[in-house]
Amino acid sequence: MYTEKVMEHFANPRNVGEIEEASGVGEVGNASCGDIMRISIQVEDNIIKDIKFKTFGCGAAIATSSVCTELVKGKSIDEALELTNQAVADALGGLPPAKMHCSNLAAEALHEAIADYKAKQGKE
């Protein structure tokens, strides 16, 4: 039911972990099935220099987290904000319809991390 690309990311997830002293952290839970994803980013000169994730969820949730980190690493904050869940799913060659909600998780966690970064910036 999953594409080869999904399985490849699932078997070898990129950017797993947590950035210490991160510029921003986003954690979201999935209301539909109860899964949790956390993304931490390190931002320098408005560029996402590093990004890491941790996910408690299905194969699709792990693969979308992984591909999402890959898609935005090295991109500017504005570029990263344009990332949609559809783009995440497309990068994996598509997801089964019942699993589309899992791709929301990755994009949402990323957006939360960026919002967290901006809020911290505002305070400084």
């Binding site: 109860g34 994803m37 996910t55 408690f56 969820g57 194969g59």
Partner: protein, 398 residues
């Protein structure tokens, strides 16, 4: 890599002797069992033999067995048939079932609610067991049907059917049990259990899919689900699925011969798996430790999700199943695990291994060697796991 199939609760591989009997039936005995001529008589003979084999494995007489298209149809036939039949006789419109039934039972009861029946769903304890006192409290003068499964398909817990049936029948209700998971695996005797109706299915006992049966005790009246010819004493009309039924009969014969030794062998494997995997930190056994089917192992691994666990196991050639919301299609975790009081999160990390004929001691070793590293990998990915490396078991945490 030799694949290891440990999902016998979902379905079983068809026994080679069953395949042979079915192919022979299709090739040589194509006749209609209702026909008078030699072809028909030959088919009738095979039908009668299969009925006797299935009946014998549950201590019933052949004429008490009605062949169906599987466990689901048998459950529906029993529940709709008994409930509607009893209401027609003016006995009432109250049904009792349990929270851990298969959907074939639960959803049939829900459908009857729309026909004006009242349904009481009995709770279970943390092991998944129905308590006799709960049934005692729920029974009413207008209770017409009690349907409680013999052994649970997810956690393997065996219910005290004998006492439950005695109680229900003493109050004038019809008692049905879904024995799809226990039939052919542990002793199932309709007289000892004292049930009025019992469902079984062929594909869980190395027979073909799409065949099952309903045992109907003498004197129990059911309104039929469908109408047509005089097959199966008009309770299930339609030309019989003879190859399937012959396969079911053969599978029942083989199960009867092998059941005791097989149950002992699988219980040993089951206990090795449970004891071995429980040594990992943050693991919980789901279901009763001893009062469970010989073939059933069900554990929750805290901090990880079941579907990703199944995918990792699949990459290692191991076939299993899970009650996780992410595998359910409906995005709800298993109703059985929730009824047992498990939190959403713990139900999420559940893994069911169901043993069977093809499994060996080496398969058990392989699983015991493979699961720890997979669990470790997934926990390293989990945002819930941080700081939990220090051992506090999840039962203590709850």
């Amino acid at each position: 890599m030799q694949p290891v199939y440990m999902d016998h609760g979902a379905t079983t591989p068809v026994h080679p002797e069953v395949v042979k009997a079915m192919v022979e039936t299709m090739e040589k005995s194509f006749g209609n069992p209702s026909s008078v001529h030699a072809f028909g008589r030959e088919a009738r003979k095979l039908l009668d033999e299969a009925r006797a084999s299935v009946a014998s494995l549950m201590g019933a007489s052949p004429e008490q067995i009605i062949f169906t298209s599987g466990g689901t149809e048998a459950d529906n036939m029993a529940i709709f048939g008994a409930a509607r039949g009893m209401r027609l006789k003016g006995k009432g419109n109250h049904i009792i079932t349990s929270a851990v039934e298969h959907h074939a039972v639960l959803d049939a009861c829900k459908a009857l609610e729309k026909e004006g029946f009242e349904v009481t769903i009995l709770p279970v304890d943390e092991d998944g067991q129905v308590h006799v006192e709960e049934l005692e409290k729920a029974l009413r003068d207008d209770t017409v049907l009690v349907t409680i499964m013999h052994a649970n398909n997810e956690v393997g817990t065996i219910q005290p059917i004998q006492e439950l049936a005695r109680l229900a029948k003493a109050r004038g209700a019809v008692f049905h049990t879904d024995a799809v998971q226990s039939f052919g695996k542990i002793p199932v005797d309709v007289n000892e259990l004292g049930v009025d109706l019992l469902s079984a299915s062929a594909h869980k006992i190395y027979g073909p899919k799409g065949v099952g049966c309903l045992y109907i005790a003498k004197g129990v009246k059911l309104t039929p689900l469908s109408y047509g010819g005089s097959q199966e004493r008009r309770r299930r009309p339609g030309t019989e699925n003879l190859p399937g039924i012959v396969g079911f009969g053969k599978a029942a014969l083989i199960s009867q011969a092998e059941m005791q030794a097989e149950a002992e062998r699988l219980t040993r494997y089951r206990d090795r798996l449970i004891d071995g995997l429980m040594e990992l930190p943050h693991v919980k056994l789901n279901g009763h430790r001893t009062n469970r089917l010989p073939q059933n192992v069900n554990l929750s691994f805290h901090f990880i999700e079941g579907e990703s666990l199944l995918l990792m196991l699949d990459m290692k050639g191991i076939a299993a199943s899970s009650g996780s919301a992410c595998t359910s299609g409906s995005l709800d975790p298993s109703h059985v695990l929730l009824a047992m009081g498990l939190s959403h999160e713990i139900a999420h990390g559940s893994l069911r291994l169901t043993l069977g004929r093809g499994n060996s001691e080496e398969d058990v070793d392989y699983i015991l060697n493979t699961i720890p590293e997979i669990v470790e990998r997934l926990r390293a990915l989990s945002p819930l796991y941080e700081g939990k490396e220090a051992v506090t078991s999840c039962t203590q945490r709850r």
